[in-house]
């Protein structure tokens, strides 16, 4: 069942067991899992079936620190959430991403990759993915990894029909949960805003916040402030340890043989470090995206190479004469060290139309990340040269310690952390089952529960965690 307003839904007398806030990949996956298990579920979705400027306006906010995207640009507020414009790059976090790293404080998850592996079959169906091939070691330091470009499943479109026909799932559009109320043990209700006005309070036995990797923190911070700690009784880490995948062009490469690494449909291949290399260099995880360069760039690159390494340049020119494609751009995306100082706060001056304070995001890249960028490119360049696979040139601003450019990719639109998973209530908000510490009936879905970000895009892992949470909740509710 899909309702276009809360008013319409109220007239049905539907009695849900659980209420899910948000219909993005996380919320929709959990709802479908519970619905399939025969549990009546309501999904409250702030936006409508389509994009609208009015709805997006609720997402405006401010960033303090490093340059970042406008907060109403980096996500979408309507049915299906940001899956309505995601690019569809998929990979699950690596086994090593879940492990604590002695050289990076506050890393390590309370679960391992084995805990989400049983759900990967479902995830492949949902995201329409073929099987991943295993990583290929290129050297002791570098792995050739696979990211699969899914057909960028738009969750709203893909599941609209199924949800409309469902007897167990009611999706209620244009219904914004402005605040949760709680008594320090249980969530007692959700205050709603619909059609531009206060729409009363909604109650259910269980609540799951799936409002996105920025909005989950905002909703919980505001709710907790209003209920004097009754929604997140252990709030020391709430909003903190927020992470992105900073992404910049890092250099170029000339390749001995382009067919050495089979590229995907976008002429791209991906490389990451081994755990041993990360440990030796004390750096975070990173991903190098190698993209075939257009012909004019190749000539420029070889002219530059000729000044430094004539032998190499001569060989390259020969390859060019043969019209071999042999140059590539290198983009680097990396894992941010989780820092409590990178955080979401509530604005003290700016509120949305419903009176909820907007986000103030405090975000800065750390010196450890700067080292990860430079050492990562060096590591990749060294492997390429040692194995005679090609040669790498690192961009000057990176070698010379210059400022981060502001006219580049910047980051991945991946919003992680803020309600991270853990056992220490001072450093985490939810437990290994995504249940808010100290609360009996309150769970969180989405990448806000990530403890660390790894190097890969988050939605495959979000969907796997959502399948796991859906299954867990199904058992809890059935008792």
């Amino acid at each position: 069942m899909i309702f276009d307003s809360y008013e319409a839904y109220k007239q049905t007398g539907f009695k849900p067991k659980a209420c899910i806030l948000g219909s993005g990949p996380a919320g929709m996956t959990i709802a479908r899992k519970l619905g399939t298990a025969g549990i009546p579920i309501v999904v409250l979705e702030a936006g409508s079936r389509e994009f609208s400027e009015e709805s997006q306006d609720f997402y405006r906010g401010k960033t303090v620190g490093d340059f970042y995207f406008d907060l109403d640009i980096t996500r979408l507020r309507f049915m299906g959430g940001s899956s309505n414009h995601w690019a569809g790059w998929c990979r699950v976090l690596d086994k090593q991403d879940f492990e604590p790293k002695a050289w990076a404080p506050d890393t390590g998850w309370p679960i391992s990759r084995a805990d989400i592996e049983p759900y990967l079959g479902e995830v492949h169906d949902i995201l329409e993915l073929p099987a991943f091939r295993p990583d290929v070691p290129v050297s002791d330091d570098i792995r050739w990894v696979q990211l699969i470009k899914s057909p960028a499943v738009r969750f709203g479109e893909k599941y609209a029909d199924e949800l409309d026909k469902s007897k167990n799932i009611a999706v209620v559009l244009n219904t914004y949960a402005t605040e949760l109320t709680g008594d320090g043990k249980r969530i007692t209700g959700a205050k709603l805003w619909s059609n531009g006005q206060d729409a009363g309070t909604f109650s259910a036995d269980y609540f799951v916040a799936c409002t996105g990797g920025l909005e989950n923190s905002r909703l919980l911070l505001w709710s907790n402030e209003r209920s004097n700690g009754g929604v997140v009784p252990n709030a020391a880490a709430l909003g903190r340890y927020w992470m992105e995948h900073p992404t910049f062009e890092g250099g170029n490469a000339v390749l001995a043989n382009y067919s050495e690494f089979e590229v995907d449909g976008s002429n791209e291949a991906f490389f990451s470090p081994t755990l041993a290399a990360m440990e030796r260099l004390q750096i975070m995880n990173f991903g190098i995206r190698l993209i075939e360069s257009p012909y004019p760039n190749v000539k420029k690159l070889i002219a530059d190479l000729a000044c430094t390494a004539p032998n190499m340049a001569e060989w390259m020119s020969f390859q060019l004469d043969q019209r071999l494609r042999c140059a590539a751009q290198l983009y680097v995306a990396w894992e941010q060290a989780p820092l409590a100082s990178n955080r979401i706060e509530l604005s003290k001056t700016d509120v949305d139309h419903a009176g909820v304070p907007r986000i103030e995001l405090r975000w800065k890249k750390s010196p450890l990340e700067r080292r990860t960028l430079l050492e990562g490119l060096r590591l990749f360049g060294t492997t390429m040269a040692q194995k005679n696979l090609g040669r790498v040139r690192i961009d000057d601003w990176i070698s010379n310690g210059g400022d981060y450019p502001t006219n580049e990719e910047t980051a991945g639109h991946h919003h992680m952390g803020g309600t991270r998973m853990g056992t220490d209530v001072l450093k985490s908000v939810v437990d290994a089952n995504c249940k808010v510490h100290g609360m009996d009936n309150f769970y969180v879905g989405g990448s806000s529960v990530f403890c660390t970000s790894g190097q890969c895009n988050p939605t495959t892992t979000i969907t796997a965690l959502a399948c796991r949470l859906g299954e867990h909740l199904g058992k809890v509710i059935a008792v």
Binding site: A309, A385, Q386, S399
Partner: protein
């Protein structure tokens, strides 16, 4: 003293001693170059043999 040195004239020994430091100096001016060594020049990560 070895029989070999005893047979040499004092002058020949002196000459040999004088040339020794010069030889070692000459050797240190020509370090053994590993063509596979990785070097970073102008942002390029190269093998030394690329530089010829």
């Amino acid at each position: 003293m070895s029989r070999f040195i005893r047979k040499m004239s004092r002058r020949a020994i002196m000459q040999a001693l004088i040339t020794l430091p010069a030889l070692s100096l000459f050797r240190s001016q020509q370090p053994v170059v590993d063509p596979d060594e990785i070097v970073e020049i102008n942002g390029w990560i190269l093998r030394r043999s690329d530089l010829a």
